[in-house]
Amino acid sequence: MNRPADPHPKARQREERGSISGIQAVVIGASAGGLQALTELLPAFSERTAAAVFVVLHIPRDRPSLLTELFARKCALEVREAQDKEPVAPGTVYFAPPNYHLLVDDGPQLALSADDLVHHSRPSIDVLFESAAEVYGKRLLGVILTGANEDGAEGLAAVHDAGGFTVVQEPETAQASTMVLSAMQLKSPDFVLPLGRIAELFRTVGLDSSLRTGRPLG
């Protein structure tokens, strides 16, 4: 991408929160248009990424998901469908399976739940983000992408309240903007960025600490 543009007017300046370092996990939520957005974003994580990446993409509940196979071929990181009680491995992308909520539990390990739909969705972005915020606190980066419902707004607020960093896709560039707009309404995110700049962020976030430069982004 070109030189980063000025931060979105609604975005709080990163300086208020200190530098975006020490990230151990990234949670990503997306719905309508999300597949395309993820295709641009997930390959941006380099094989040196030590952070774990958890993804909820709203998918049909009644059939197996092909996301893992699809992204395994495109990504430098290992890509898996989340299994219940699996210990979280660094540098791994976990997709929530269809018809289950994905949560991060103490350990950290993965947990699935068959609880009620949240915002008509299972998996729900709120459920993932809230549980990850509990476990990772300020070491978490939460990202809300394109989508046509309100799932994720409360989750992103929980990430913020626990001291984590929050990013939303620039609404003008989202295929469906409802989800990012609801997230922005609830809590003003740290960054509002087009996909290209989120990809830039992913290239440098949560790198193996022995390799991290310590140079702030931006």
Binding site: P87, L103, V104, S113, S131
Partner: protein
């Protein structure tokens, strides 16, 4: 594991964590329901939604009400435990039972089945219907257990909202049904009532996988989407009960995204229909 997390708790998060532990202890000591071995992530979420429902700003307030308003506890228990399932949820599971497990069950002169964590009874009735269609029901007794007595009453009533029936019917058909689901219920006033003659083969009973022990020898245990709510120690306890309860070469069915891989019982059961999470008791050779 190597991704050890130093929790980056805020002060508020730390207080919540303390209050959460205290609430679980209070419920255990006062009402003898043991949530101490539940997966914290799911339980935290349910406790948080309970705070909203009971208009409590803090978990300490909720604990105060739990301790001093006895009428509140059953409502909270429902909130913490009730699971909405479907009849014939994951039809391929039932199809595999029908096509691969039933032929072996046929060789037993009498059959006992344990549906552990039966909630509102959908799964127990599904199995009763499947066993009737396969001609096994007359010699079968199904134990359907749950920790929540209120839920068990609902299960025993066998009444479901009529708008859920369409989904149940599709699932049933995909499970390899031999009859129409409509043969097994009567509809009236927006409700569907399950045929009483199915219920005659089901014993609904109060049982906790956390604190109770084995009560019968069974040929099949179906426990789906229950173990995901337990931590590993409690999951192992439950699997131990299933293992002790099952006859030699008995069958265990778990949820479509559950796995024995992260338990101590990985080797005590062999995959029988791997993709549908049906296992058979007996060590791999």
């Amino acid at each position: 594991m190597d991704a050890q997390v130093e929790p980056g708790y805020t002060a508020a998060g730390r207080k919540f964590e303390i209050e959460f532990r205290l609430l679980i202890e209070a419920i255990y000591h006062l009402y003898h329901y043991d949530f101490r071995g539940y997966s914290a992530a799911s339980l935290r979420r349910r406790v948080k939604t309970a705070m909203v429902r009971f208009h409590c700003d803090t978990l300490s307030q909720l604990q105060d009400r739990v301790m001093h308003e006895p009428a509140l506890f059953p409502v909270l228990l429902d909130h913490l435990t009730v699971q909405v399932s479907e009849m014939f949820r994951d039809p391929s599971y039932f199809r595999s039972l029908r096509e691969q497990v039933v032929p072996i069950l046929r060789t037993y002169p009498s059959l006992k089945v344990w549906v552990a964590g039966c909630s509102a009874g959908e799964e127990a009735y599904s199995l009763a219907i499947l066993f009737r269609e396969e001609g096994l029901l007359p010699r079968t007794l199904i134990y359907a257990t749950d920790i929540n007595a209120h839920t068990l009453q609902r299960a025993e009533a066998g009444v479901y909202s009529i708008d859920r029936i369409a989904g149940f019917t599709v699932n049933h058909r995909q499970s390899g049904a031999r009859h129409s689901l409509a043969d097994y219920y009567t509809a009236a006033y927006g409700r569907a009532m399950i045929d009483k003659s199915l219920r005659d083969h089901i014993v609904f009973s109060d049982h906790s996988l956390a604190t109770d022990s084995v009560f019968a020898e069974v040929q099949l245990v179906s426990c789906r989407n229950v173990l995901i709510y337990f931590n590993r120690a409690l999951q192992d306890r439950a699997l131990n009960l299933f293992h002790d309860s099952l006859c030699r070469h008995g069958f265990l069915g778990i949820g479509s995204k559950e796995s024995l891989r992260f338990s101590s019982y990985d080797r005590a059961f062999q995959p029988f229909v791997r993709e549908d999470r049906i296992y058979q008791k007996g060590a791999a050779t």
